[in-house]
């Protein structure tokens, strides 16, 4: 084991011990923070997957991805308000509306992201490496601009349609837990499992992995590179779409610039898990969610940002390949 690895494991060990002390001295509070952290982390994981997939295949930090996530929450909110039978209650009619709106929003986001790739990234594939980065930033401003134009700077309300209130939430052993928390984690887990299945088993998934490894060689093998990259953006946006919808239904308020911070944190998660690595991004999202929750509770929320980005720097310095330790081939 090399010295940086050792430092990394020692530091992680110290954090785990400190948390264990908290868990023993105040178990209820610890469990409560854990619940919040898992729910947050599940959502970060969904967004992080899009970053990691795009980075893995074309080595671009897709700054617009966080805004695709937010746009999904905006579109989802509009569609839900249109389809739902009544505000803020869980009913059969609303359940049907949700089941309808989820796939529609995800598909719309997929289409949006594929369009972004077609317009802003594909023409620049052979341009200097920084050019697509600037268009990504431009696209991020553009999406934020669309949302700003739509609803202005105020927060937007998302109908509270998931089962909530008495009967669906309560204290288990002193820990407040609701249907929503369980729903978020389960939904994210299902989506990640489906993605893993798709990437590992389907022909397109295989093409994606091949393109990520060596674009020229895969082209020679008859893989349609443009289609494969477009598919990557499409799938990444499906997950971000689901993530945005879930975020909206969980927190019930969204703002146009939500994607900026969430995107940075999700990107940190992707790096934390080892960028380009799909299980790594899911795991990284969960861990960053937990770290954020623990930092909020034990250090103070004004330090959370410092903690998260401090960890990001520490991981890159001591363990640049990320948690899962897989290396993206240098191109």
């Amino acid at each position: 084991m090399s010295v940086p690895d050792l430092v990394f494991f020692v530091l992680s060990g110290v954090v785990v011990v400190l948390l264990a002390v908290q868990a023993v001295t105040a178990p209820t509070q610890f469990a409560q923070v854990l619940v919040f952290g898992l729910a947050d982390g599940a959502m970060f994981a969904l967004v992080a997957l899009g970053y990691t997939m795009v980075y893995g295949i074309i080595e671009l930090i897709n700054f617009a991805h966080g805004d695709v996530f937010t746009l999904a929450a905006y579109v989802g909110a509009a569609l839900i308000t249109f389809f739902s039978t009544s505000e803020n209650v869980f009913q059969v009619g609303n359940l049907v509306a949700l089941l309808l709106v989820f796939p529609i929003t995800m598909l719309i986001m997929g289409a949006v992201n594929v369009t972004i790739e077609r317009v802003a990234y594909r023409p620049l594939r052979n341009a200097p490496r920084l050019a697509p980065l600037i268009t990504a930033i431009g696209m991020s401003f553009l999406l934020e601009g669309i949302m700003f134009l739509w609803h202005g700077p105020a927060t937007v309300h998302v109908p509270n349609l998931l089962p909530h209130g008495p009967g669906y939430e309560g204290y288990i052993g002193g820990v407040f837990i609701g249907f929503k928390d369980v729903f978020v984690v389960v939904a994210a887990a299902i989506l990640v499992a489906l993605l893993a299945l798709f990437i590992n088993r389907s022909k397109l998934g295989k093409a994606m992995r091949a393109t990520a490894q060596d674009r020229d060689a895969s082209q020679l093998m008859g893989i349609n590179i443009n289609r494969t990259i477009a598919a990557t953006f499409f799938i990444g946006a499906l997950l971000a779409g689901a993530g945005g919808m879930i975020w909206g239904l969980y927190f019930n308020t969204i703002t146009y610039n939500l994607g900026f911070r969430t995107g940075l944190i999700a990107f940190t998660s992707a790096v934390f898990g080892g960028i380009g690595n799909i299980p790594g991004a899911a795991l990284g999202g969960m861990i960053i969610g937990l770290i954020a929750a623990f930092s909020d509770a034990y250090i103070g929320s004004k330090w959370t940002q410092v903690v998260i980005f401090g960890i990001l720097i520490a991981v890159l310095v001591f363990r640049p390949t990320g948690l899962m330790g897989m290396r993206v081939p240098e191109k």
Partner: protein
């Protein structure tokens, strides 16, 4: 144009050849505009507002010149450049105001601006080296991510350490630079040319404007010489192919570290100037948006080309601070002029035309970025070497396409 040729040719021809050289022409035009600017704007608008704005734009020109060393010359992506800017600004603000009197050390410092200009430079460079040392060995993109993280942490730290920096309340009433003597004249709205002894800048826009123009000229000369030096060639070699550069005997870590530290030092330089000229330094002036804006200036202007980067900085500054904010009143006036004045009124969901234009700013900035990048991915004025490289690359690509179709 080699030196031997230049000696043989007569003076007039040399001058004409020089004017044909694009960079020289740009510098010439910029210098003339810079000289005429205060006189012309004060004469035309009867206020020093435009001069003050040009002084503010000068900060961004300095930042863009500095980031160009990192991104354009050495090819290292820095997404947290504003952090070094913040360090420079806070460095001056803390040691040239009453701020530290209310901090735990209960002692205020009032160090002179001219000293702090260089201290800010050195401190920012040291931070650049400290951040760069462990991370520059990593692959390129990871550096971008580390700097992004650093850029997020630094303003947050200045915000959180309230007892030292005042946190969200910012540091105000920062000392103004003084000079033993200053010359004023018609260019500053003063009818006669006279010398002012014991001159204090005292938020005088013209004085700050003159200062920033001098700083920019110094920076351009320094960076141009660096670019032509052995170090500059080493940077370019690393940018093009790090492995090959290392094989040629270039110490890649030291060379990259120097690029990073020198780039950061310009930012510290700009930070001290910024703190003095505004007289107030607050943590939210150094957010990620600033890093991105400066990066956009560099890439859009033409990476690696100093004159292009200056133009890029001025264009983006104009778009962000003049073009977009002027949109709502202009749109309203236009609507009234063509008889659509009713649209200006706010009613129900409709925020009024001015409101829409206000909301459109973000979107337009995004569209401008994407469109300009798609039209000129190499920037407005790319460096000559880069331009040639891109051209030869497309030629090679075309050839391979021809081969493929034949086969």
């Amino acid at each position: 144009m080699s030196a031997a040729n230049a000696v043989k040719k007569p003076m007039g021809l040399r001058l004409r050849e020089r004017i044909k050289d694009r960079d020289t022409a740009i510098y010439g035009v910029l210098l003339i505009v810079a000289l005429v600017w205060p006189m012309a704007t004060i004469y035309a608008t009867d206020s020093t507002f435009l001069v003050a704005q040009a002084g503010h734009a000068g900060t961004f020109v300095l930042l863009a010149i500095g980031l160009n060393v990192v991104v354009g010359f050495a090819g290292l992506l820095d997404l947290g450049y504003a952090a070094f800017f913040a360090i420079g600004a806070y460095c001056y603000a803390l040691f040239a105001s009453n701020q530290l009197a209310s901090s735990p050390i209960h002692h205020q410092f009032h160090l002179p601006f001219w000293l702090m200009l260089f201290v800010g430079m050195v401190v920012a460079a040291v931070f650049g080296a400290v951040l760069g040392f462990p991370t520059l060995r990593l692959r390129g993109d990871y550096l971008a991510i580390v700097t992004l993280g650093f850029g997020e942490i630094v303003p947050q730290l200045f915000l959180n350490f309230e007892q030292w920096t005042g946190g969200i309340n910012a540091i105000g009433n920062i000392d103004q630079p003084t000079l033993p003597v200053w010359i004023t004249g018609p260019w500053a709205g003063n009818p006669i040319i006279e010398a002012v002894p014991k001159f204090s800048f005292a938020y005088d826009p013209v004085a700050y404007y003159v200062l920033v123009v001098i700083l920019v000229i110094v920076a351009v000369i320094l960076v141009t010489n660096l670019h032509r030096s052995r170090l500059g060639r080493a940077w370019m070699a690393i940018r093009e192919d790090e492995v090959a550069a290392a094989a040629m005997g270039i110490n890649t870590v030291t060379t990259k570290l120097l690029a990073f530290a020198i780039g950061a030092s310009f930012s510290g330089f700009a930070g001290a100037y910024y703190g003095a000229s505004l007289g107030i330094v607050s943590p939210d002036s150094f957010l990620f948006v600033v890093s991105v804006t400066v990066l956009v200036m560099v890439v859009l202007g033409g990476m690696g080309n100093i004159s292009g980067v200056i133009i890029g900085a001025l264009v983006i500054y104009f778009v962000l601070n003049n073009f977009l904010p002027a949109l709502p009143p202009n749109v309203t006036a236009l609507a009234s002029a063509v008889g659509l004045g009713s649209l200006n009124e706010q009613s129900g969901e409709w925020p009024g035309l001015a409101g829409v234009a206000q909301r459109l700013q973000f979107l337009l900035y995004g569209v401008i970025l994407v469109a300009m990048m798609l039209l000129r991915p190499q920037g407005i004025f790319p460096s000559r070497i880069r331009e040639q490289e891109l051209k030869s690359q497309t030629v090679v690509e075309e050839e391979t396409v021809v081969e493929q179709t034949h086969a």
